[in-house]
């Protein structure tokens, strides 16, 4: 997921050609308080004028308890976007956003970036059927907790695990916080590996140059894709015979292995490594 400042026409024009799976047009932190009106109108006109292809289009609105948030949501809800990214989300904010989005098919992605939001995450993510993913905001979270944000990320380990557990419980995507040193590619790589290892399904970036690194880490290898394809082929054969469990290469394939294979195939298709059939 690539953050793009909402008040920058040049970036809005090029948003869908940078290789990200999702673009987040940002009306919140990337826009100064004096330009909130300008960014909202620019993003609205851009979404009417431009046709973003092959990317999920997300708008990060301002928090709903500020003077800008509800106006942002009202402006965006009938435009060509997929998802509203809801900052400083908690259960009440998600319910309010859900109500304001009535009559639309827009999804909600809560941004967990406060200590109360983190501790009540399951309730927050369960508060609306529109929620299909969650993003961790490490910068604001550590600020809220009064602790230093480091490149190593030990201070957000608990938060990452908590976000992943809640997302897995609800079978939705868990997207990791951006790595904010845009010149440290090795740091981004390590940070992305850490996120993947604990179960994050994606990562936000604030610089397009980070997209390739994130993709390379989250992409399944060719061997993994081939094995997943074989498992699915054998599964179809077994299912046709009415068998729930089967063996492949001498090992039993049961539901968890099958589910992992399905996820590998889905990820490979999303990343363009496998053609849709």
């Amino acid at each position: 997921m690539l953050f793009m400042p909402g008040n920058n026409p040049a970036m809005l024009i090029n948003a869908d050609v940078l290789g990200a799976d999702s673009i987040i047009l940002d009306l919140e932190d990337a826009v100064s308080i004096d330009e909130k009106d300008s960014a909202r109108i620019l993003v609205r006109e851009a979404l009417k004028f431009l046709s973003y292809k092959g990317v999920e289009t997300v708008v990060r609105i301002n928090p709903l308890d500020t003077e800008f948030g509800i106006e942002d949501l009202e402006e965006m809800k009938y435009l060509k976007i997929d998802t509203i990214l809801l900052p400083k989300a908690d259960e009440e904010e998600v319910k309010l956003a859900d109500k304001l989005l009535a009559g639309t098919d827009k999804k909600i992605m809560p941004l967990i970036e406060t200590s109360i939001g983190l501790e009540r995450i399951y309730e927050t993510l369960s508060a609306s059927k529109r929620v299909d993913g969650v993003l961790l905001g490490g910068e604001d979270l550590t600020c809220d907790m009064g602790i230093k944000r480091t490149k190593e990320g030990k201070e957000i380990y608990y938060a990452r695990c908590r976000v992943v557990a809640a997302a897995k419980a609800l079978k939705i995507s868990a997207v990791d916080t951006p790595f904010t040193d845009t010149d440290d590619y090795e740091g981004l790589k390590k940070d992305t590996i850490n996120a993947k290892e604990i179960g994050m399904t994606g990562k936000a970036v604030i610089n397009p140059r980070g997209i390739e690194i994130v993709h390379s880490i989250f992409s399944p290898s060719l061997d993994e894709i081939e094995k997943a394809k074989r498992i699915m082929t054998e599964y179809e054969k077994a299912a046709a015979k009415g068998l729930g469990v089967f063996s492949l290469d001498g090992k039993m394939v049961d539901a968890p292995i099958l589910n992992r294979a399905k996820k590998t195939i889905t990820t490979a298709k999303v990343l363009g490594l496998l053609k849709e059939e």
Partner: protein
């Protein structure tokens, strides 16, 4: 919409347009653009359409274009109008 004060919007960054508007009798539009010969008429047309949409009949507009597309011109003019009408 009545324009009661000066309003500004946009930047001098590439692909943007900096718009200044002020109260006036009638409509007066001045445009500067590196692509004036090719797109000057279109920029004027988009500005006039935006003024019409917002029912503005008395205004001075100065637009300094840096290669803005139609959506940016519309957005910056609308923002400047909102700011000048407050």
């Amino acid at each position: 919409m009545d324009i009661i004060k000066t309003g500004k919007a946009g930047t001098f960054e590439s692909n943007d347009i900096y718009v200044v508007i002020a109260p006036n009798q009638g409509i007066k539009i001045e445009i500067e653009s590196p692509v004036m010969a090719q797109f000057g008429d279109r920029i004027r047309e988009v500005i006039e359409e935006t003024l019409q949409t917002n029912n503005v009949k008395n205004i001075y507009v100065k637009a300094q274009d840096k290669g803005a597309l139609d959506f940016t011109i519309r957005a910056r003019v609308e923002t400047a109008l909102n700011r000048a009408a407050k």
